[in-house]
Subunit: 224 residues, 2 copies
Amino acid sequence: MTQDIPQNIITTVDAVILTMQEGRLHAVLHKRPNAPFEGAWALPGGFIHSEDGSAEDAVGRVIREKAQASGFWVEQLATFSGPHRDPRAWSVSIAYIALVPRHNLPDDTENVRLFDVSETPHLAFDHERILQAGVERVRGKGAYSTLPANLLGEEFTLPDLQMAYECVLGSTLDQSSFRRKINDLRLVQEIPGAFSKGGSHRPSKLYRIAPGAETFNRSLGGRV
Amino acid sequence: MTQDIPQNIITTVDAVILTMQEGRLHAVLHKRPNAPFEGAWALPGGFIHSEDGSAEDAVGRVIREKAQASGFWVEQLATFSGPHRDPRAWSVSIAYIALVPRHNLPDDTENVRLFDVSETPHLAFDHERILQAGVERVRGKGAYSTLPANLLGEEFTLPDLQMAYECVLGSTLDQSSFRRKINDLRLVQEIPGAFSKGGSHRPSKLYRIAPGAETFNRSLGGRV
DNA sequence: GGAATAGTGTCTGTCAGACAGTATTGG
DNA sequence: CCAATACTGTCTGACAGACACTATTCC
């Protein structure tokens, strides 16, 4: 079958960009400067360009340019499609999740802001559905993977790591069980002699993610 | 931003169609009748049409028409994209997994055949990668969901169900643990008075999936 | 009764959660 | 010393895997 007739399908990427602020999960949203949905909040997104090497390249470009983020982790979420989700044409949006340490994002501006994921405004297109799917994926995967560590920078303390997990899972974890699990799975490496500072209390040791640690053997936390 | 320039991106769907034959996972492959890759085996797939209500609709059409399957379960796998995966143009393939009971598929023909997933031929495009991702997803999800039940028809016995799980997970399960788990989770409903027949041994009771049973609380099987 | 498969009961090691206790900092 | 947070040890209940046992069919 040769396809001579162009399909006239709009092909875009959209990003659910999540970070941790004040111990809660926040999403980066962008106020649309143009039609359609001019002035509405939306997920950062854009068209795939012919120069892009893949949709993943395209979404990386969008995250860097529209959200001004750096040092993020990205994973494909799902693809949303249909004749009516964009008023201009039959459209496909390949949606991604990105996790970014808070300090790799700029401060809020008029048109790009962080929103607590449980207090988001109405969004353009079907972006509310995409955001919801993204948060669900992150919460689900947080229980059995190192995903929440991507909310932290290179070096972190175990209390930091626990907070990232609690933030993603939306529940508190027992400190002792958490540490036992992290230790058993050889998830992190101690940075010898490095300690956190500030605060009138015992300082905590600094760690980094162990090379090759990606998935847990068993669940961590949350009674599911 | 208004997009007047057509993107010239080919947008297709492809299906990893899996079934259980002789206790092993098999995939439906299709011999391509036309260029590109004429004569090569490939995943059943096709272009999205403007009449389709979504990519999921499109893949349903493809599965029914190219694989002649009915009564299948389908879930989105991932989207593959890039300038070179299809020699004709920058292309996007939205890939799906389908699970079909063997009796809802026709017998092998010259151009549509079942292949044991561990003995597949070389495939067109990047379809080997897609198939591999599909099998990995199914194996991973089989451990904590009712996914393997989709390899069976409406009514099945517990030995049938256990075989479906073993087939998906690629390992044997302890009968007692398996039944305890299935029972604890209220995963299935007994069909009162219905028994399997044939075979000179004790007949087994027939069950169907309980309404609303989709996900396990804990892992089932495999030491992971 | 025997072969074959369906289905049940019980023991045991492992592990997550709870919680109490110890350690180390600044003030 | 106290406050605050970091970190550790131990008990206990729940549960998966192992495996032996019973049940029911056809021959």
